[in-house]
Each structure stands twice: as C-alpha cells, then as structure tokens.
Amino acid sequence: MKKRIISILMENEPGALSRVVGLFSQRGYNIDSLNVAPTNDLSLSRLTLTTVCDDLVTEQITKQLNKLIDVVKVLDISEGRHIEREMMLIKVKAKADQRTEVKRCSDIFRGQIVDVGTTYYTVMLDGDSAKLDGFIEALGDISVLEVVRTGVCGIARSEKSLSL
C-alpha cells in the first residue's frame, strides 16, 4: 500500500467530475484528496486525486478512469519523479504571547500570515502534504479554529506532459 497521486486530464464538461467521483465510490476505492480546475485550454480540466492502494488496485483505477468517455489521459505521477504541492489556509487562536509563537512557527515553515484579528491569525502555507501536516503538529498547544486544504496537485518532473 502506497500513496498515489493520479493526474487526470478530462473534458471540461458537466457530469465529467461526477463520473470520476462516482467510479471511486462505486468500485470501493478511496479518495483522500481531490483537486480540479480548468487548464490553459478551457475545454479541458485537470484533476489530481490522491489515494492509498496497492499496485493491482492502482492498475484497475487507472484503467477504469481511462475507460470513462470524458477522460482524455490518466497518469499515476507518483510512479516517477514529480512535484507535489498543496496549499493550506489555517486559522488559529492567537492571543498575547501565542501571537509570537504562531508567527515564529509560520516563519519556520515559510508560511504567510494573511489575515489578523485581535484573537486569531490566518496562515497560508504551501508544500507537500507532509509539510502541511508537520505545521499543524508544530503548532502544539495552539488551538486550531479552522483548516482548509486544497488537496494535492502535482506534475511530473520531466518534459513528458499530460496534454492532448
């Protein structure tokens, strides 16, 4: 069992996303995160999803995805060298001395404080999923009010590209 990052290029059409998501629930595969947006070619969407499974299941997942009529291309980018990024907005309680603590932590993780209130800070942070998890852990006693993560997006580290 391994974390997989599966990249899907598909028609930017209504119903396409529900077919992908439906496929996962229908066949009993998990989705840990999902991220989707149109590409530079507005007729296409790029969808990245992460899941944890073994090789056999990954093979079935990619084949089943490819079989969907709206799907143009599928690539398990975790198979080769790749870049993985996720963005997180995290709102934490920050009063008195907690404020320097949060600020320090955010600096260490190269985050940015993007919103400030008298009782809270909102930090924006990006990196791979492990780094974001690490930040939350590093906050220690500081109470987290809200976490919003984009889910992973990724790209292969080579000239090879997922395009038409």
Partner: protein, 579 residues
C-alpha cells in the same frame, strides 16, 4: 440541402439517418413532443410495450439477435427509472443500446418538478456514457455520438436525456446529420499489440494441456468464424462461458461445454488442469472462477479483450492482449500461417485422452445426472432436451433467470452465435419474454422460444399484450416447478431446506386461461409421454403465441455445481456425489 426542423422532429430524423428502424418505448408528458414527431413520419417504427423495463429488454433482445444497436424511448421520472433495470442488464452484458429519456423542461430542472428524476445521475453507474441535451441544435451530434459510443469498443448502453423544451415543435433550427465523428477522449483500440500476439502464440503453441476459453465478447464481436478456424488449426479443447454459448458450435467434439458454477465436469476439470488458457473475450467473473485463490494453479493465462479493465481484474493475467477480438484472432491465424510449428502431437493426444476420460466419468451428455422422467414426473432437464429436439437446435432461445436458464444452457446445444439470449451478468428475472419480442423483430424467420419459470415470467407477463398487438409469435416454455427453484436449491443446499419465501402457496395463476385472455394459445403438460408431441404442436403454430405450461419435478437441482469457495474442480456432480 438543409431543412428547418424542431428538436422533436430532428431527433426522429437523426434516428433515421443513423439507420434506426425500430424504437421500443412508452409515452408520457416529457416525451410528448417526441411522440408527436413519431406520429408524423413513417421511417422509424415505434413499438409500444407495456412497461418501460420491457422496452429496454426488448431493445436488448433485438440488439443481441441482430448485432445492431437497440433503441429505447421513455418519458421522464417513472418512465426513466423503470428503464434502469434493463439498462443495467445491457451494461453487464455489454449490449449496444441507446436510451432516450424525456426530461422536465430545462427551466424546471432541480425544482423537484412533476416526474423529475435526475436520469443522468440515476443511470450513471450502469451506462457506458450519458448525455443531457441542452440545446436542440446539439441533437444530431449527440445522437451520432451516442450510437458511436454504444456500438464501438466494448459496447454498452448510452442514455440521452432530453428536456421537454429542447423538443418544442415551435423552435426550429437548420438540421444536418454529421457524417463522421471523432471524439478526442474516446479512441477504442483498433489492433492488438503485435509483440504481445507473437508472445501469446509462442506460449499457446508450447502448451501441453491447453484450453481455449470463449466468452460473450466472441459473440458481440462476431468473431465466430475466425475462432472456428483457430480451433481447427490448433486442435485444442474448447470451453465457453454462459455468455459465449454458440460462439463455437456446441455440438462440436472439441467443445467440452460450458464452464463455471453450473458448467460441465469435463470443462471445469480441463480448466483446473490446463497449463495454458487462451481467454477470448471474457471477463472471468465470480460465477466462472469459483475461489480465485485456487484458480487453475498450473495455468499461464493469455487474455484477449477489448476492455483493458477486464484483464487482471479478478485473475492475474500473464499475457494480456487488448484489442478487438476479430482482429486479434485474425492476427493469430496469420501467425499460424507463417509459422509451421504446432503443439506437440503426443502431448496433445495425451491431453485429449484425459479430457475424454473426464467426459466418460461424468458428462451429463453421456450419463444423465438425474432420474428419468416418467408418467406425471417430468424432469426439467427433459423439457430442454425436448425443446432442442423439436426445434432441431435451430431456435433462438431467450431465457429468463433461474434453474430453467441453467438447464437451457446445458441441454440446448447452440451451434450458432446470437442464438442464445440471456441475462448473464445481472441475472434479471423478467428478461426472457421482452427479449424474445426483440429477437422476433430482428429475425422473423427463425422460431423464437422464451424459456422461463413461473417466477420469472410473472415479472414481465404484461408483455403478452404487446405480443398480441404486434403479432409476435413467441413460444413460451414455462418450466413450471411451482417454486423459485434456484432460490429453493440454495435453501436445500445451504439452509437445511428452510424454504424462506420461495414458494407461492397455491397462488399461481392458471397460465392457460391467462394466455387465452390475451388471445393466445395455452398448452398445459403434466405427463412426460405428452411432452414432445405437445411441444411439436406448439412449434407447428408458427404464427401464434403459445404458452406451454409444463409441470416439472419441484425438487430437481441443477448439477454440476461448484462447491462454494473451492477451486474449478470442486463440484457436486449430482445430489449425492461430490468430487
């Protein structure tokens, strides 16, 4: 030359331009513009069924018999949801079908309007693809795409949902039907990989205990002739799945018969002991494999299929070939023409000797595994044997689901593809009669039998009325064991005979009167001596619907039967003998 047409007229014109001759359907509010368009033309014939489920099964039977795409038209809401069972049935067996459903007007979608259901959503897990048409101008291209997708690659059902305003007779547009189509995200494979085919042939030719395993894909792709040549050339034993029956002649010496849960002893034994299995167009589902962990321990598996997801889904494959079966088998034949090497003659002879030994031990065709029928005790197996005899093996047999279906698969020897029509994947009771109607529309010259049980037939019995309206002379062979026999068999074998809800307590209708009420002929058979004669009488009435209600032994079981969780070779061969 272009013409101004409304969405409704354009839809029917597009069907005509696509070559559609027949539509099975049922009207309702959201489809009324379309129905009016149907009324005003002559090219596309509409068949009014009595339930939307039957429309899909009839279109399915038509598709399976003719090889063409079946077409269905239903209204929104209940019309659409009634069609879902038939869509799922077609999906599981890879049958090409286009289902057009009316939808509430675009402006009302999402408001829980009268008879609104999200048909695209409801059908999503059981379609190859679906469309929601938003603009009348998109109708021709959508229909073109729908038929292209339904028919090509691994065939399957496609839903086209059309809101009522899109078919409005007052909104006209310039109609033209696209001549060609290219869907960039849908490019079915056209050839098998040559390197893989060579590798596969080397393995197949080096085999000592080979078997050729033929599935429903062989029927769907019309590869029978090619496969026959391949078998002739190789001389290997053949087995088929329930869906593959007829793709290779059932009466051929080379054919060991059906494999799987109720497959023949000789086929299942040959599978278990094989060293190379050449799978042609099959998906190795649980009803054929038994316990996958114990599956054919010595076998190298060469698997040819148009759909890559079927390969290594349940059984790890050694040499996969993705491609259209007719092409791949053609390439295999070319390979054999160019390469003189064949399997070792002595090895093959030894293997054949072994296979024939298995036949002698427990073939149901050499040694019946049931008591003989006599007097008032008719054995269901003998009903199918009589059917085979009376029809000379030439009928199109459309089956329902249950014991009678397995007996039909075992005792009717199908020599031709598209002669055996049954719901294998979904196992849909109620399929038989409407499918038989579709088969008759596809082939008016061949007798069509609906083999059914008193349970299954009652799931779509209303279609006896459709049979009257369109003069569809189905011969209904009701193997009446006065029980949900297959359920009862499992209750006998696994629940110590506790017949929970598998009996009807004297509530069965008088099927003869029922048939007569619809204007048909009914023939009741209770004595074995009369069986063949009455069956001959039935088929002699070529232009009538005949309902044969044949009372059979309610205690009979289907054998062989796989021992649950065992390997391919673990079977009950009769009520008392387990191998």
């Amino acid at each position: 030359m272009t013409e101004m047409l409304s969405g409704g007229d354009a839809l029917i014109r597009a069907l005509k331009d696509e070559g559609v001759e027949l539509v099975f359907g049922y009207p309702g509010g959201a489809a009324l513009h379309i129905y009016d368009a149907i009324f005003r033309q002559q090219d596309v014939e509409h068949i009014l069924v009595r339930h939307e489920q039957a429309a899909t099964h009839a279109a399915d039977g038509y598709a399976r018999t003719s090889g063409k795409v079946g077409t269905v038209l239903v209204t929104s809401g209940p019309g659409a949801t009634n069609a879902v069972t038939g869509i799922a049935t077609a999906y599981m067996d890879s049958i090409p079908m286009v289902v057009i459903s009316g939808q509430v007007p675009s402006s009302k979608i999402g408001e829980d309007a009268f008879q609104e259901t999200d048909m695209v959503g409801v059908s999503r897990p059981v379609v190859k693809h679906s469309f929601l048409v938003k603009d009348a101008k998109d109708i021709p291209m959508t229909i073109k795409k729908a038929y292209h997708i339904a028919r090509t690659g691994r065939p399957g059902p496609v839903v086209v949902d059309i809101p009522k305003d899109v078919t409005n007779p007052h909104d006209k547009f310039e109609y033209s039907y696209p001549e060609t189509i290219d869907i960039r995200s849908y490019q079915p494979v056209k050839k098998g990989h040559p390197g893989q085919i060579r590798k596969a042939m080397k393995t197949v030719l080096a085999a000592k205990r080979p078997i050729i395993y033929i599935g429903g894909g062989a029927v769907q792709s019309d590869s029978s002739d090619q496969i026959r040549k391949l078998v002739d050339e190789l001389g290997y034993p053949v087995t088929n799945t329930l869906m593959g029956l007829g793709a290779y002649p059932g009466t051929s010496e080379k054919n060991l018969g059906m494999l799987g849960m109720h497959g023949t002893y000789e086929s299942n034994m040959a599978m278990h002991h094989a060293d190379v299995i050449l799978v042609l167009g099959a998906r190795l589902d649980d009803r054929t494999t038994n316990n996958t962990k114990k599956y054919c321990p010595d076998a190298t598996i060469v698997h040819v299929d148009i759909d890559p997801t079927t390969i290594s889904k349940t059984i790890q494959c050694d040499i996969p070939i993705v491609g259209p079966l007719e092409e791949v088998v053609g390439d295999m034949l070319d390979y054999l023409e160019e390469n003189a090497q064949r399997a070792d003659e002595k090895d093959l002879a030894t293997w054949w000797e072994q296979c024939n030994n298995w036949r002698e031990q427990h073939s149901i065709y050499l040694k019946p595994n049931h008591e003989p029928s006599k007097g008032e005790m008719i054995k269901p197996q003998d009903v199918l044997k009589a059917l085979y005899k009376v029809t000379n093996g030439d009928a199109i047999v459309c089956s329902d689901v249950g014991q009678h279906q397995m007996f039909a698969a075992q005792y009717y020897h199908f020599d031709k593809p598209r002669q055996w029509i049954n719901s294998g994947g979904l196992g849909t009771m109620g399929f038989g009669l409407p499918a038989a109607m579709g088969a008759i529309f596809a082939d008016r010259d061949t007798p069509v039998a609906c083999v059914t049980g008193e349970g299954s037939i009652q799931m779509c019995i209303q279609e006896l009325s459709t049979c009257s309206q369109y003069h569809l002379p189905v011969k209904i062979i009701n193997v009446n064991n006065q029980a949900l026999g297959m359920v009862k068999q499992w209750q006998d074998m696994n629940y110590e005979g506790r017949y929970s809800q598998s009996l009807y307590e004297e509530s069965l209708p008088d099927f003869i009167k029922l048939a007569e009420a619809y204007g048909h002929v009914g023939i009741k058979v209770t004595k074995f001596e009369e069986l063949e004669e009455k069956m001959a009488e039935c088929f002699a009435m070529t232009d009538r619907v005949v309902f044969m209600d044949i009372y059979v032994d309610p205690m009979e079981h289907v054998y062989p039967m796989h021992v649950p969780e065992g390997s391919m070779r673990d079977m009950w061969v009769s009520k008392t003998e387990r191998i």
